[in-house]
């Protein structure tokens, strides 16, 4: 009796193992993803603690790249990276204060709402903590006591898109703003309008992709004059592509920023081009520049902001860039 039960158990285990093995997919899924390669060997010497405080709204692919860059830099430079974020400016300011209280060696901060964060970032600089501003704060980083800035100029990026649309002999552009009330997003669309005057803004709820798709689709059906849709994020470009199909429209979709799906759509010719501000570089350089400053007293940019964009991604260079999007670097 007992041995029968044991046999049944062994057979059941073997059967479930066999099922599990057979269930393995021969392609796709996590197995085909490249392993995350860190930077080079760890640097020797003192281990510095660097705080990075951003206005990230948790769970955004764009910010994931900034963090990937920062983490890779921290790993190769033997830096203890303390990352924290809050999308609301007052809370972000408190997080910077938190970093000062923790007596970090360096501070990398974004200035999405300068008025709130500058005074406390200045406090860090006055306390002798080297400060680097990245991603946002192009006009204001010096007020925060920061020596360096790594990021793009949103206005310039918008203008470069407007120029491309003009060169493409566009008729009317629709600039899709996925979050109401963000200064950076407004600046991008304003930049587009500067070099391509017939631009209209459309506000959608980017947190709800089906609703966003429906809003863009409705607009495309209502206004047949639109020749170009400009989206401000890679995920939004995909929503715009779906909306375009739904509406049976022949407009061209162009976008800011990249993700693997958007890169694939550029390769397939569905998205015209992308203006990439290279978030990985922003995170990587913010940490590296602080480390160089702490170890050698270096600074970069010659007192001017260091621009990580706009960098155009289109059919001419997508083959080179496509593999990097999968490893979270573009």
């Amino acid at each position: 009796m007992r041995s029968t039960r044991k046999l049944v158990r062994v057979l059941a285990t073997a059967a479930s193992l066999a099922v599990a093995l057979a269930a393995c997919s021969s392609q796709g899924g996590a197995q085909s993803q490249p392993s995350q390669g860190g930077g080079g060997g760890a640097a020797q010497g003192k281990r510095y603690t660097i705080a990075m405080v951003t206005h990230e709204q948790a769970g955004d692919t764009f910010w994931d790249k900034i963090r990937a860059g920062a983490q890779d830099a921290a790993k190769s430079l033997n830096v203890d990276l303390k990352y924290s974020n809050n999308e609301n400016a007052p809370e972000q300011a408190t997080l910077v204060q938190n970093a000062i209280d923790s007596k970090v060696d360096g501070l990398a901060v974004t200035l999405a709402n300068g008025d709130a964060v500058i005074p406390v970032a200045k406090k860090a600089a006055d306390a002798g903590i080297p400060v680097v501003v990245f991603n946002q704060g192009f006009d204001q980083y010096k007020q925060a006591g920061a020596k360096m800035y790594f990021g793009s100029d949103e206005d310039l990026a918008g203008q470069s898109i407007g120029k491309r649309i003009t060169a493409d002999s566009g008729g009317k552009a629709l600039c899709v703003i996925q979050a109401q009330g963000s200064v950076a997003l407004e600046t991008r669309c304003a930049g587009v309008k500067k070099t391509f005057a017939n631009t209209e803004n459309l506000y959608v709820n980017g947190a709800d992709k089906p609703a966003e798709q429906a809003s863009i689709g409705a607009k495309l059906q209502q206004d047949k004059a639109i020749t170009h849709v400009v989206t401000l994020g890679a995920g939004d470009a995909l929503a715009a592509l779906n909306a375009k199909t739904d509406a049976g429209s022949s407009t061209k979709v162009v976008t800011f920023d990249l993700n693997p799906d958007a890169a694939k759509a550029i390769k397939d010719g569905k998205i015209g081009f992308s203006v990439d501000q290279q978030p990985y570089v922003q995170g990587y350089m913010a940490v590296t520049a602080l480390w160089l400053n702490l170890t050698n007293g270096n600074d970069m940019g010659g007192g001017k902001p260091v621009l990580t964009g706009p960098s155009f991604v289109d059919s001419t260079n997508i083959d080179q860039i496509l593999p990097y999007t999968a490893s979270n670097k573009r």
Binding site: A58, P90, T94, N98, I100, D101, K103, Q180, G181, E186
Partner: protein, 351 residues
Amino acid sequence: MSAPVATQPPRAPQEPPRATRSLTARVLTRPEIGAVAAAIAIFIFFFAVAAPFRTLPAFSTVLYASSTIGIVAVGVALLMIGGEFDLSSGVSVVTSALTAAMVSFQLSLNVWVGVLVSLIVALAIGFLNGYLVVRTGIPSFLITLSTFFMLRGINLGVTKAVTGTVATPNVSELDGFSAAKAVFASDINLGFINIKITVLWWILFVAIATWLLLRTRVGNWIFASGGNSASARAVGVPVHKVKIGLFMGVAFLAWFYGMHLLFNFSSVQSGLGIGNEFIYIIAAVVGGALLTGGYGSAIGAAVGAFIFGMTTQGIVFAGFDPNWFYTFLGAMLLLAVLVNLYVKQYALTRK
């Protein structure tokens, strides 16, 4: 359908022997005792795991983060004891700040004019909330949800229409700014610790609310209105006035915190404040207020805000992975609510 029956407990033949209850018994039956126990447990936890948490500047930052929640949470707790909700409290903070900034900047006035105008606007919003709730009898959840959406739209729409951007202009150049900053957003040096003035205001508001609840007739009215408004009205409590007053109290404290936002940061983004209304409610509930009304305390709401501030900052001081931030926060709140429950049960069953 049977008519609602208001049952009165049988009258005791003589006064209950209150004086004979021991100090421990009295302390253990307070609404906030569970929250205090939870706060101590969480404090010990972060004190043990996060080295930077042990310093005085860090404690000051924790107190500041707590005060930014606690100021409005005091009003929200009183309102919940009175049996109502206010979902518009988070955005009305920003409405007040935006009003003050735009009125004083666009008309080039002394900032104190903006401060006063925004106070009137805030109190009007509070009055409207309260008036609609008591006149229509519609649950406050729905009325204030509508106000929440309207204010959210107004905040963005009016700011964009008036200033052309989504944030207010910087008001720090206007007359009266430094005086207003001193009142609403200065640093106070206590010799051994540098704290934000909001912490002192917070303590003051909690003290006033506690005195109001426990030592005045209005306090009894608030408990009665929230416990059973029909019988409260039957014994002569002006339930409508009490509730409107409570909504205006929340509006006043939201205005106060709005002024802090404005004068601390000199300008305000119109999209702020959304979601904070739940944090205020959570602080009140963690502090022992019942969702059904009639029970709770102002000190409890303060302790609830302290737990929230301590946890949000403690997670960062401890250097936990921010991806898991809300998981830690949720676990800490669950811990707080559970400790709260067990301490209360212990207090009720002990002889």
